[in-house]
Each structure stands twice: as C-alpha cells, then as structure tokens.
Amino acid sequence: MADNKGILVVGEVAEGKLLPITAEILGAGRRLADELKEQLSCFLIGAQMGDAGKAAVAAGADKVYVADDAQLKDYENSTYMQVMEKAVAEVAPRIIIMGQTANGRDLAPRLAFKLGVSAVMDCLELAIDQATRLMQCTRAVYGGNAKAIFTSEAVPQIATVRTKASSPLAPDAGRKGDVVPFAVALDASKIKAKVLQMVKEEVAGIKIEDAAAVVAGGRGLGGPEPFSKELADLARILKGAVGASRPPCDNKWVPDSIQVGLTGKIIAPELYIAVGISGSSQHMSGCAGSKCIVAINKDPEANIFKEARFGVVGDWKVVLPAFMAKVKELLQ
C-alpha cells in the first residue's frame, strides 16, 4: 500500500448534525493534510444525515462521502465494517482518524486488524514526522501516569482521538468541497448482530459534556444524598452539571452516565469543583483539560491537590455549605 495518499476522517452524525468530536478530528486532520499537502476526506455513515456533509466541508474536509442507508441507522460493527472496507479500498488513505467514542473505539481495532495493522487509540496529539512523512501519535498510558509517542510503518496508519483533545476549525460555510453519496450493497450474511433497542439514560438539566461548570463528588461523599442535595444545589447556582468519579457510579449512588474519567466522560469545563475526590490518574484523565480545578478534600496528601488550582483542606460537610452561601451572595 505504498501509494496510499491523503487522510480519511470517519465522522459521526446525530440527529442530522456532526458530533463535536467529528469537527475536532476534522480540524486535526486538516492540519495534517496541509502539512502533507494532500487531501482530507471524510466518511459519514448513518441514516437521514441531512446537511451533515456540508457541515463536514465547512469543518475542513475536501471531499465528503455520505453512506446514508436505513440499515445504517444504528451502529453495529459487522454492518459498519462492510462500509469501511469499501471506503478504504476506494480512498486508499495513508492515515485514518476516528473519534475515541463508543463507536470509534469499537470500530478502529476491528478495521485495523482486518487491514493487518494496529491502531493507536485515544490520542491526545497527532503530528507528522517530516523525515518519514509518518504520523506520530501521543497518548496517555498507565492510567494517565505517563505518556507515550507511538508510530508505525504499516499503512494505513489508524488513530482514534480523545474528545476535546484537538480544536475544531472555525466553521467556514464558504469552504469548497465535494459531498458525494456512497452506496454500499450490504451483505446480510455477514451481519452477525442486530440492535434490538437503544435505551437513553438522560440526566435532567445541562449535559455534563456541555456544562461550563461541573461539580463532581467522589467516594468521600459517603452516599447518594449529597449528589442530589448539596452538589445539585451548587450546580444549579453555577448553572452547571453534577459529575462523579468512578466509586459513586460503581456503588450505584449516581447513574454511570455522569462518570468523569478515563473510561467515562472526558470533559473540559471552565470550572471543575472536585468534592471528596482523591484525584486518581484515571479520574484526572477525564477532567485535566478543565480551565480551573478546585478541590475540597479532608486529606491534605490527596493527589487532587497536585492537580488543582485552588484547594481547601477540610470536611466537605463544613466547607461546602459556607462556600455555597458565599458563592450565592457573590453571584446575586
């Protein structure tokens, strides 16, 4: 595959709109494509995707292939793999980029192994090595306790990119690019699974990934009540959302969908208030991009104080009500 050229981004669309992660990886892909002076293509796979193709051009793509088919409405890997195999054969890219989403982390390894290569998952940064024209991928390893730079000589190089790790371009409706349909005759005999149902577990109020302020609690809160009382009250005052580290989710104090961390949500709010959270590397992987981290913890040795900008050492039961009262007063 020595003649492979260009970069292929696999985008995701929900309700006719590009997901934010897709705009982010199109931004990252655009920068690599410009450095290589090659084309940036984008594949959108789904059903009833509206104007998402145009949005992908505005976000940086030179050519967008839209595989729009009722059978592709829900993600399922044996179905999507059929589209991806044809896509790779058609475009023959040197680099493939996906988002580190539920679908990207499922699809990228299967596609990579099918092509006889290995992907580099959950990358924070992608760069081109000028001498070899190969991509180098930086990612967190050992639960965030170290970082590593990976590369591979095998083509195509495949990477998934972490949410909020790269910045999208400012959307430019005047950008020129082609949007073309991509038809795939799906082979029913290769489809090994079917989606019976999609169950939404939406939390009321602002979504944690969209909130400018997040108030998160950990094991130190001792039970479910503080999440629905004190933390929810503070989140309301700050017009933000409530989050949690892993132990409260594992203990069923709060729904899994508000877990912040390496294997939960990766968020980057303006303000992240960590209450009773020790700050393991796994947890910090989910919130390290926050502009300002504030920690309240009774253990002065807690790792969270190495990561936070402001901290109070003390029992949250005493610190939080006083903090909240003062915040309320200041915001009035």
Binding site: A102, D106, S118, A146, S152, V199, T263, V294, R309, E329
Partner: protein
C-alpha cells in the same frame, strides 16, 4: 456454554501515582517490589460475566482462563480460579514480552485455536497499563467472530444468540449477537465476586497449563510481532501550584475560596 476469559497481570492501577516509575531503557513503567501486581480489574469483571453464566447451569458450563506474559506470579494469575473458573492456561515465556495489542491478540488467537471449540470469549474493555482497548476487538477480527465491546449485561438466549447491553455515551444499546462471539466487559457490569476460602483451596491444587510460542505455532511473539513502535515513553512534569486556602475554620476557608474564585474571575 464453553467460555474463555483473557486475563492480564498488570501493575496495580489503584496504587498511588508516585509508585509509578519510568524504566526508560525498556520503554515501560515499573512499581517498587512491595506493590504487588494484580489481575487487570476489567478482566476480573470479564471473569464475573462468565461466572454469572456458569452459575445458571453448572453441569454444562466451563470457564477457561488464558493469561499471557512472563514471570507471572502464580497467586495473582490463579485468582480467577479461586473465584470459580475451571482451568488456567498460561502463555508464559520471555519471548511474549514487549508486545503491543497486535502481538498479544495474535498469540491469544493461536492459543484459542489450540484450545478448540468455544461459545463465548470475554475480555476486559481495556487493560490498565497501555489502556489500549484493542485486544478484544482485534482478537475477534483475527478469529473471524462477531464482537460487542463495553458490555454491562450478558444473557444467553435460546437459538444460539446472546443478548448484550452495550454502554454508549447517553445510555445503552441492546444487541442480539450470534455466538461464537467475543464480548468485552466494563465496570458497569457490577463488582466481581470475591474468592471464597473453598475456591482458594481448590485453586491452590490446580496446576496451570503452560504454553510457549512453539506450542501454539507462533514463530514471532512479543516485541518481534509488534505493528506499532514506542518512539518515547515519558512522565510529564506536574507543576503542582495549588493555592491552598487556609483560615481559622474550614467554614471560613470555604467562604474565602468563593471570594478567591471571584477575584480570579472564575465565577
């Protein structure tokens, strides 16, 4: 159901960040000897998923564990046996060291072919050292079987299918999958069971089967079978410039914190 669970011995991810030291010469992290390795926590949950199925019909169900590495500590890798698994196969040899997900999945695929027919393979969603999350899906691709990743519930149904709840960003998908299949398991499945005293006694009597690369017909393993290369492994320096707000009482410190945030235009 004939089930296989892949389990990896890892550095203890729950240990304090300060215990992780860089071994730059070998491109890996190490921990001091007093920090004992563990079974990757997600892999323990994969064992749990298999045991829950085994519990439903003890007569016809079997759970085989496969672990790959070198210098594997017997009391660590035997933990799944003490939880209730039936058999342990170790792919253990210096040649297995230094592999990436491709090298590991290739060796596991070869071993599983040698084990013989199976219905379900379980893996943890990712291991806690390289946090790659590729071995499960990659192994399924190499074996040519369907896969479902990040499951929180697995139920065997009649007619050769399993029903799987797969965690996604805003909820979960319910899928019906034909088996043989591979399923990766997440913490949402719920806590793995503890080893019982009876289980520990039984496990201590069981001898693992040990296979070397030649036993599974693999001529390149570990570092020699890699598809990716580590250019550099490093520990980013943390500045640690936390402004600890102290006052006469914790309550006063709380109020002062609010004021500080205001002064710095954070709120």
């Amino acid at each position: 159901m004939n089930m296989i669970v892949c389990c990896k011995q890892v550095l203890d991810p729950e240990a304090a960040p300060s215990t992780f030291k860089l071994d730059a010469a070998n491109n890996r992290m190490v921990q001091p000897p007093e920090v004992k390795p563990v079974i990757n926590p997600y892999d323990e949950q994969a064992v749990e998923a298999a045991l829950r199925i085994k519990d439903t019909d003890k007569a016809g169900n079997k759970v085989t564990i496969i672990s790959l590495g070198n210098n594997l500590l017997r009391d660590v890798v035997k933990k799944p046996l003490s939880m209730g698994a039936d058999e342990l196969i170790l792919l253990e040899d210096p040649a297995f060291e230094g592999g990436d997900s491709y090298a590991v999945a290739s060796a596991l695929a070869a071993a599983i072919k040698k084990v013989g027919p199976f219905d379900l393979i379980f893996c943890g969603r990712q291991e806690s050292e390289w946090d790659d999350g590729q071995v499960g899906s990659g192994l399924a691709e190499l074996l040519g079987i369907p896969s479902v990743t990040v499951a929180k519930k697995v139920e065997v149904q009649s007619g050769g299918t399993v029903k799987v709840e797969r965690v996604v960003a805003d909820g979960f998908q319910v899928l019906e999958v034909q088996y043989p299949a591979l399923i990766t398991v997440s913490n949402e499945l719920g806590e793995a069971r503890y080893a019982t005293l009876k289980g520990i006694m039984a496990a201590s009597k069981k001898q693992p089967i040990v296979w070397k690369p030649a036993d599974i017909g693999v001529d390149k393993a570990g570092a020699a079978a890699r598809k990716t290369r580590v250019v550099k492994l490093f520990q980013p320096v943390k500045e640690g410039k936390c402004d600890i707000i102290s006052a006469d009482s914790p309550a006063e410190a709380g109020a002062l914190l609010a004021q500080k945030l205001r002064e710095n235009k954070v709120i």
